[in-house]
């Protein structure tokens, strides 16, 4: 029963192996630990932001197997065997992902607190729908709240990044 679990004293630790930003990680987590805490505190990846803490704002969005999820309500052990991508894993060889570059160029953020979640959600959208129209972007992004920009510039940034990602030779 309870395969893959081991008990030390009366605390339960679950050994997990998962991919974090392309690197395989082995660690032990307690059943109640949240993914956001493990990402931020254990792996020091503080780009994943905590805001509402109850899965309504999108600031803590990470991609699990390419799908946006709120890490503030995901139990860490559930990441076992999956691929987790945080904002830190997006740039490749020091080169920003086109979404990151577009958010900078088009003023897609002000304080920046919602931005990691915004960009990851947008990446998931563009990965499955390279040419979304305005309403598709809005529907997909409705779980990501920004209190600074008024969303117009965010939309523009996503549309611009989509265009770059679609351009030939990429």
């Amino acid at each position: 029963m309870a395969e893959g679990t081991a008990k030390a004293e009366d605390r339960q630790f679950i050994p997990i192996s998962f991919t974090l930003n392309g690197t395989t990680q082995q660690t032990q987590v307690e059943p109640h630990e949240l993914l956001i805490d493990v990402i931020r505190n254990r792996f020091g990846l503080t780009g994943t932001k905590r805001s509402c803490d109850v899965q309504v704002c999108g600031a803590c969005t990470v991609l699990v197997d390419g799908r946006p999820m709120s890490s503030c309500t995901t139990l860490a052990f559930e990441a076992r065997g999956h691929e987790v991508l945080t904002i830190e894993g997006l740039a490749k060889n020091g080169k920003l992902h086109p979404l990151q570059a577009a958010f900078i160029e088009h003023g897609g953020f002000q304080c920046g607190f919602c931005t990691p979640g915004m960009i990851l959600a947008a990446k998931a959208l563009l990965d499955q729908n390279p040419e979304p129209n305005r309403e598709e972007i809005i529907h997909f992004m409705e779980g990501n709240i920004c209190r600074c920009t008024g969303y117009k510039k965010i939309l523009e940034s996503i549309v611009a990044a989509a265009k770059i990602l679609r351009s030939p030779g990429r």
Partner: protein, 304 residues
Amino acid sequence: MRRPEALEIFQPASVKEACQIIRKNGPGGHFLAGGTDLVIAIKEKGLAPRYVVDLKRIPSLSGIGENPDGSLTIGALTTLREVEISPLIRKKYPFLAQSAAEVGSIQIRNRATIGGNMANATPSADVAPSLLVLDTKAKISCDGEERVVTLEDFFVGPGKTVMKQDEILTELIIPPTPAGLRGEYMKFSPREMMDLAYVGVAVALALETKTKKCQHVRIALGAVSPTPMRARKAEAILLNQVLAEEIAERAGEEASSECKPISDVRSSAEYRREMVRVNTKRALLNAGLGSEPISWLERRDKRY
């Protein structure tokens, strides 16, 4: 914000094993499916499970399939996002896919499961009215024994179902439906996004080919009674009648008097009743048009 406290987790590999864990460990256990409701209940509502039984390692509990007789089975661990984008469901029952798309956000739909959503028996659950108009049945399993109840009987009250503590909802079954069945789900919530339905109305009907009379009428309401409910008196008004503005209005009035809404932070009971009347009428007329599935924004604009 409260952090979850230490809890013990079990990860059974079969439904049978999951039932046995509950029997052995007794009260205070909770099942974990998607986790979107459970973790919120721990954080916000002070729920303190003694132990948690994670169902996600049980194979065969997820997926959508069509059977030779035309019925559909949806595994309890199928996520709402999978329901939303399933080509099979979009083709056969676009309004069911639509109602799944109305839930929360993409971050929530990627984890929340249709079985967890039904087992939590929230009166406002968006997919419940759509499933009710499809005469959906719930398969419940415990220790090798299975029983099947209609989804209507499955719900007993807010947060309450017919399941005993050691029973697990394993599957939803949509029986074969009449050819040409058309339906509609209207979610009424003044905030367009990330809000619960103040009122949810689903309808399904099939028209007789020559006379265009309604042969098969189902109307179901969410958020206006202790459980998602069928509005049978309203259905009876339409049966064998040609759908038109005036009769849709009468069905709306009937549905509005059949429902049993409460007043809460979202809305007064009176307002809910009025919105049932209006939205039932609109849902019927929209379904009658039988148009091709349309986009999210167009649907939203149609509501008001």
